[in-house]
Amino acid sequence: MSEPLLDVEDLRTTFHTPRGDVHAVDGVSLRLEAGRTLGVVGESGSGKSVLGRTVMGLVSSGPGVTVSGRVSLAGQDVHALAPAERRRLWGPRVAMVFQDPMTSLNPVKRVGRHIDEVLRLHLRLGRREARERTVGLLRQVGIPEPERRAGQYPHELSGGMRQRVVIAAALACGPDLLIADEPTTALDVTVQRQILDLVASLSRRSGMAVVLISHDLAAVGGRADRVAVMYGGRLVESAPTSRVFGAPRHPYTGALLASAPRLSAAPHSRLPTIEGRPPDPADPPPGCRFAPRCPRAEAVCRGGAPPLLDLAPVGGHPHEVACRLPLEAESTEVGHGR
């Protein structure tokens, strides 16, 4: 296997709050090869957004925050770089798309300028060249009449169009890695699909790696090579997408899949839910974070944090699970209720 583009090792992001230390990301390790797509899935507060921002270096050690561990992007330790050097990474090497296109464009700046400025800052293009590239990028992300749209203000565009603009800006300098933090949460379902397909096709075309962060398993499903499931700041399962959906080994993943509505389910049938509430990030349960809500939990689960172990058959893609009592392989399959 080649040197991974992104190598995250035992990353911990801790916010020091008046209520105590919040371990938003608590020992996460990830690897992502160039051109591949990794889905990061978890519920609200599971730390997936903080993970994305820490990986990028947007969140770094400072007053109120401690980051430990290592994020290596194409061989460079992101958190060891000086702020100015890190800024040079953002745009040409790694870019980010945010959740809400309504607020991620500056309301008083014309659409085109959002992209022009990035091009002129990083690639030192002239005004004219930058505008030509901008129009090209807008066309590439499927915006009709890009010349006219570039001169409009964000409020003149629909949410989906705006997210396309954000994506165009992120792609402007041809990054190796795109971190998409819930890029479709604020959009209509039909537009969600278009945006996700757009990201997937752009990634295929330019060989760009993507970290797709979402709370929506289904959104990630068809588009990621691997899926990492987060719970309470930790990875609980990380496996090839088909394994996560077809043969999840962590009870949390299994429960998440079971609680997704299915067209094949009988009408008015009750949707299985996960009892209880997510752990308090300032005071997480000892041992496995999911233990208090886990129907399979036993005393051993409450003892210490379960290590992330590879349970894949020899020679297969790694299937890492952090559970002392994992589900049997092939025990739960997509399409069947309990």
Binding site: W90, F98, N106, P107
Partner: protein, 288 residues
Amino acid sequence: MSETLTDRRTATRRPDLVAWFSGTWLVVLAVLAAAAPLLPLPEHVDLTRSLTAPTLSGPDPASGHLLGTNAFGLDLFARALHGARSSLAIALAAVALGAVVGGALGILAGYLGRTVDTVVGVATNVLLAVPPLILLIALATVLEPNARNVTLALALLTVPTMVRLARANTMAFAQREFVLAARAMGASGWRVMTRELLPNVLLPVLSMAMVLISVLVVAEASLSFLGLGIQPPAPTWGNMIAEGEGRVLEEHPHVVLVPGVFLFLTVFSFNILGEKARKRWDTRSGAR
């Protein structure tokens, strides 16, 4: 639905006439004031050249003194226009200075936070704690009363307001994702402040500036009235009003009324337009 629509329409229509009048007054005044030295006006400042003119004559277009003369025979219309020159120039310069300094400090404090915010916050609170007129008088006793120093003193008065406004707006906008997005595209702190935050903070600051101009016109007039601003015989509306001291106002009310009406209409107009601008652009009204 239709009711609220018509309500809104009349609500925006009604003050339009007043706003038009205000705008017209300010434009005409500004043009006349700017052109005052070129206009064939009777003497406004040099006592030796008004020796033959009638003193304290009432407004009479036929006499060549449109709005009458003062105790020295100087033409009141000419003095009011020349007074407008200094009043408007000082108020505009002071507001501009205050907006630039206060806006910059506010954006810095709002975006950088921490120590910068604390220092700027303490400084503005200290300034706000001193009553404005007392501050002006204190400054006037130390500084020589000329146009530059009056401008600086008045600018100092506007700085705390501008700092607070810019800081509050900066903090609100800094929470928006576009600032994070700009940082994620490699924008430095300086770039974020100048390219992302400044354009957003500019509108509320400018509309506040409109409101503050009228305050400063009055403040400048007060200083001149007290003899702490521009010194007579150079005219300003404040020291023209001061010429009505003693029995003059009783017997020749026009000496006070002429500058008074100029002052009133100007302040009124700035207020109306400033209020209109604030309603339109202030983020608090929810318009984007």
